[in-house]
Amino acid sequence: MSDWEPKIVSFFCNWCTYGAADLAGVSRMEHPPNTRVIRLPCSGRVSPKFILAALRQGADGVWVSGCHPGDCHYIEGNYYARRKFNLMKNLLEHMGLEPGRVQFSWISSAESTKYVQVINEVIETVRKLGPAKDFVKDKPKVD
């Protein structure tokens, strides 16, 4: 248990947070290696299926990040996404997922400092929660 490290699956918009992650990297800003990044064209592309698939396959946390409102490359993708995320997160938590397992942020491609700060917050929150229990597909249980 002591050497358990949280695994985070991150869904980043290509036009902003993905760039911020890249910028943090090339700027040699130190940040933890616990995330597996999946690049999407827009935060509007995120479906709850992706989040459930990540949890199902063993992610301890999911982090979705896109452009700030008003900055979406497709003008309004993140406005629609914001409404979807709201319902999605609430329903997941209504079914028992701990608050903090699934997190959202807006990070522009210039905000490498915010990126480093948020990645640390995400990981620390999930670390406190421990390994994921809900929506994980374990081996079949035999009674």
């Binding site: 406005y79 709201n86 209504h94």
Partner: protein, 315 residues
């Protein structure tokens, strides 16, 4: 409900013989007690089959999607809201429909009657306010209002919102019902308790998909449950598979669910699947003031946005 039945037949006969519609979709008595089934009448001479009683809990809006002909359709309050959804989602045109409106007093929950009777229902006779049910061990009489479906108990849209002809005068709408009481109760639980609650609620699910099929909102050509590359969830009764199915089924109804209860009505296991859609409906109402299917002039909650929509949960 004899007046309703008579009036439905009368209207159906009129619109079919006048050529206003090519088909009337209504209910007829099912082959087992306390069940009705959809009935498609294309000939004015066939209207005698149509009937209406408190067992018409399925939603006929399910049968009008992508139809090309002109259709007369029997619609309770909630069904009419699903018709509005279909019009908004371009599944049918308003001009194609002749909506026969039912001022609804609520549908009976056959699971509740079965549970009260403690066994199989062999025969049921409906009177104005009561239901006389025969079971293996005798007979019992229940008052209809005590046996209503959960959604009907708290319904505030009993009269159709869109209609061409009503079968009777409007009924009084219920005031001050508290539809989200149970959702609030669950919200007050801890994450562990919530998980336990939904594990227990959903574990009897046999993955028959009757809830999905009964719902007029579920019309994707390929449902996510059948997608295989990637496969989003397994086909088993493993609790993760079951919960994933129910999460996504409910989520796909976000901002669209009309609380018609057809899903719960259809479930052979008597699972209260609306516990999930209700949470979404409550959030839509509290966050954006949205209730689905009330007007053809507004886009659904997830097909519109405000610049200042709440986002405290986003870092």
């Amino acid at each position: 409900m004899l007046e309703y039945t008579n009036k439905i037949q009368e209207i159906a006969k009129k619109i079919l013989s006048e050529g206003k519609v090519d088909m009337v979709i209504g209910f007829r008595k099912g082959t087992i007690p306390m069940m009705s089934e959809p009935c498609f009448v294309t000939d004015a001479d066939g209207v005698g089959e149509l009937s209406f009683d408190s067992n018409c809990g399925s939603n006929l809006a399910n049968y009008i999607m992508d139809r090309k002909e002109k259709i007369g359709i029997v619609a309770k309050g909630c069904d009419s809201r699903n018709i509005v959804n279909h019009i908004i989602e371009n599944k049918i045109k308003r001009e194609q429909l002749y909506i026969i409106g039912i001022p609804c007093r609520g549908m009976v929950d056959r699971h509740a009657v079965g549970a009260a009777l403690g066994g199989e229902i062999l025969e049921a006779v409906e009177n104005a306010d009561s239901l006389v049910v025969k079971g293996v061990d005798g007979e019992a009489t229940y008052s209809l209002v005590d046996m209503l479906q959960d959604n009907c108990k708290t319904c505030t849209h009993r009269n159709p919102v869109i209609v061409d002809e009503m079968v009777a005068d409007k009924v009084e709408e219920q005031q001050d019902t508290n539809p989200y009481e149970d959702v609030k109760k669950i919200e007050a639980l801890s994450p562990e308790e919530k998980t336990a609650y939904f594990d227990e609620l959903l574990s009897p699910c046999i993955r028959c998909y009757a809830c999905r099929n009964a719902c007029p909102l579920c019309y994707c050509p390929t449902c996510f449950v059948d997608e295989s590359r990637p496969q989003w969830l397994g086909k088993s009764q493993d609790i993760t598979d079951v919960k994933t199915f129910h999460f996504l089924r409910a989520y796909h109804c976000s901002g669209r669910c009309t609380e018609c209860g057809a899903c719960e009505n259809a479930c052979p296991m008597g699972i209260k699947v609306r516990q999930l859609t209700k949470k979404l409906n409550m959030d839509c109402l509290e966050t954006w003031g949205w209730e689905a299917g009330l007007t053809v002039d507004a886009r659904p909650a997830l097909d519109q946005y405000n610049l200042n929509d709440p986002e405290e949960f986003i870092k």
